[in-house]
């Protein structure tokens, strides 16, 4: 059975338009914003807001001890934390805007921000 006979020329136009729109919106939504700032919170308050452009290590005090946040090559991670299960350390490098690593026991978090969009995996 041939479907071509049922398609009019303009339908191909609509179909290509639909494909272009779908591809465009997929890239627009899923590529994520480019992160330029790391927002470090401690005990629910903003501790520091640092640009990702400069490599550095930041020590953040919390109720259990000191968490160490490393910023390197426009990426950020929590490299050391006194929390017992080390979830935030094992999460590894954060690169895209909206990504976040949270050490609940030590009440320290790092969130990458930048661009206009701010999505995060918690509210997903």
């Amino acid at each position: 059975m041939s479907f071509h006979s049922h398609i009019k020329p303009g339908d191909y136009l609509t179909l290509s338009g639909g494909i272009a729109f779908t591809v465009w919106i997929t890239f627009a939504v899923w590529s994520g914003g480019i992160a330029d700032t790391a927002l470090i919170r401690s005990g629910g308050k903003v501790f520091r807001e640092v640009p990702l452009s400069r490599d550095q290590q930041i020590e953040v005090p919390g109720p259990l001890g000191t968490s160490i946040i490393t910023i390197e090559k426009r990426k950020a991670r929590i490299s050391s934390d006194p929390s017992p299960r080390q979830y935030c350390v094992r999460q590894g490098w954060l690169q895209q805007a909206g990504e976040i690593a949270i050490c609940l026991p030590n009440e320290v978090s790092v969130e990458l921000t930048g661009g206009a969009k701010k999505y995060d995996s918690l509210n997903y």
Partner: protein
């Protein structure tokens, strides 16, 4: 629509009326308690809605990977009604299908109902516009794709404004857009091939549409 308490001698009159052969009877059955005057168009719309409902039930048996990603088979009926009987009849069939479908599945006035309603309303709005595209170049496939995108747009609007007011749902847009593209195209092709096949067949539907104008 007619709701009757008894059914015996008026059955044949009822069937004739459904076929649109007889003028509407004033009151064929004096025993009947509630009688609403109906036109052949009403019956036709009801029948089309019933077919659309059948497809909705069929579709609900198909497992879906994500809520909201459905083929929307009932829209094939909407497309056919649109092409043959115009926008008004299509709107009736589409909205009645949403209402009756929600009663059938027990989600009347539940979030799912409003999602369907919003999707259907947006689709109909877009179809009203796409009807004005030149018929020579654009067929049911175009209508279907445009309506499918309008459908997800309407649903996403409800989801965002009411159910999940968070920009995180934007992550799902590519999934829904892809589904709209694929299912919109497939439904449009089905509708187009059905109409091409039945174009030359003796079409009592066409006669009926003439009858509307009387």
């Amino acid at each position: 629509m007619r709701i009757e308490a008894s059914s015996d001698d008026h059955t044949s009159a009822h069937i004739n009326e459904m076929r649109g052969k007889s003028p509407r009877p004033s009151n064929p059955n004096p025993k009947s308690s509630i009688l609403l005057d109906t036109t052949p168009e009403d019956h036709h719309i009801a029948r089309m809605t019933a077919v659309a409902l059948g497809l909705t039930v069929l579709e609900n048996a198909i497992p879906s990977p994500l809520p909201g990603v459905k083929p929307g088979l009932a829209n094939i009926i909407t497309l056919i009604v649109l092409a043959r009987y115009g926008w008004r009849a299509a709107a009736w069939v589409s909205l009645l299908r949403v209402l009756a479908g929600s009663l059938l599945f027990g989600n009347f006035l539940a979030p799912g109902f409003f999602l369907s309603l919003s999707g259907a309303a947006c689709s109909l709005a877009v179809l009203a516009l796409s009807l004005h595209l030149p018929q020579r170049w654009f067929g049911p496939v175009t209508d279907s794709i445009l309506a499918a995108f309008a459908h997800i747009a309407g649903q996403m609007a409800i989801v965002y404004l009411w159910l999940i007011p968070h920009s995180g749902i934007a992550y799902l847009i590519p999934v829904f857009a892809t589904a709209a593209l694929v299912f919109g195209t497939v439904n449009g092709l089905i509708a187009a091939s059905f109409m091409d096949k039945t174009k030359t067949a003796p079409d009592d539907a066409r006669e009926r549409s003439k009858e509307y104008e009387k």
